[in-house]
Symmetry: C2
Subunit: 246 residues, 2 copies
């Protein structure tokens, strides 16, 4: 199989870090979307071209594995590869390596193509995915869904957030990474300063827009946390996280 990986260097700067000097998960996600946008640009299939065709990529799920969260001021290598696609889904992998070549994070992502007019998922157009070297497959991956929150009475915390003007990015969506701030801010400072995120399964269910008021809910089960983003009774996003003691 051909190697269709695309890589670039990225210096993690101080405003990509949290209080502990570690890169935030939100910024880690921003970085990997950056390398995939740069790959698109290098292949001449820009976000703008896609918009002009009436389409846009939407991420529906991330499976995030973190071996070691990088610190600010590290020089990282961001790598991506569009691995395969079927009628409706594209599967893309991302890797973040440190200067010594050690893997810091691996992220598996599921993308769908959205029709801007109907705002619904549409069939993947081979011409927008084949230049990446992705292989067509009839197989649909059966990825585990996050457990989310099963019983309301187990909720440890619930915080509300208004979606801000600056949460909307140049792609006209709530920036993907904002969800991570909402999800993880529901945990206490004590928890966030004493734990490292090792694994996260996050699934986006519905689009969130400017002006929405969302609730971020969390259930804490020892070293596992379960999360939901809701508006009223509707679930917009679910996630499970696995942590280790720092």
């Amino acid at each position: 199989m051909a190697d269709n990986k695309f890589s670039e260097l990225h210096r993690a700067v101080y405003y990509e870090g949290d209080k502990s000097g570690r890169v935030t998960v939100a910024m880690l996600i921003n970085m990997i979307i950056l390398v995939s946008t740069d790959q698109s640009d290098s292949l001449g299939i820009t976000e703008k071209d896609l918009t002009n065709l009436g389409f846009g990529w939407v991420i529906t799920q991330y499976l995030i594995d973190i071996s070691r969260i990088p610190h600010i001021d590290e020089n990282l290598t961001l790598t991506t590869e569009a691995v395969s696609y079927n009628r409706f889904f594209c599967y893309r992998d991302f890797w973040v390596h440190d200067e010594a070549g050690n893997e810091c994070a691996h992220i598996h992502a599921v993308f769908v193509l959205m029709d801007h007019k109907t705002r619904k998922m549409t069939r993947v157009l081979p011409e927008v995915i084949e230049p990446f070297g992705a292989e067509y497959t009839r197989r649909i991956e059966r990825l585990e869904k996050p457990v989310g929150i099963m019983k309301e009475d187990t909720i440890a915390a619930k915080k509300s957030y208004d979606v801000r003007f600056f949460d909307i990015d140049p792609n006209q969506h709530v920036n993907n990474s904002k969800y991570f701030d909402w999800l993880l801010d529901s945990l206490s400072e004590d928890f966030l300063m004493s734990h490292d995120l090792k694994h996260m399964n996050i699934k986006y269910e519905k689009e969130i827009h400017y002006g929405h008021k969302i609730d971020s809910l969390v259930v804490i089960d020892n070293l596992t946390t379960h999360h939901q983003i809701k508006i009223g009774d509707d679930v917009y996003c679910e996630a499970d996280c696995e942590w280790t003691k720092r």
Copy 2:
């Protein structure tokens, strides 16, 4: 007078832009603090060294002039110079230039040295500022204070924000740039999409901490907006903005 300017290149990436694809003021401020931190590192007077001495730099005021706000994917040159200092204040200038060498923004900033133990302003130590080539002067700049909000009944909007875990940066403060998101998010999407910020005078009065709930208030007077960040009746930050129609 010796040229003590320090410059570096910076690519504005998509997550540094707003819905319109323009770099946010928050990110512009992040970028200039980055270049000044890098200058400190290059001179061997790191933030960490200062912390070990029991001190930290705190910004008390910015005067921001924007000729043209850069777009994402522009390659910018960030420049800084510590110009002068007196017993209590350091004055630093910043410039952001585009690839053609045109000035996009000029920012004049006032810094003070804070004693971490007392959390009060302390006398500037010559040894932490002289390596930058800043000149000692007895003159204290009389910078205009923002007008802020004079009459409560003129307030056009008031929005509340909880300070989040991820608002605190590796320097253990609410990241400077967060204030800009709070201040400007009080304006409507219509206003923000149809106006360009030309000038901003912002003054930080008191430290904001994790867990605080702040109010962002705005008065709109045609192409001038006046802002305050308050907790209860106490003013934590004031700003005036001048805008042009886009």
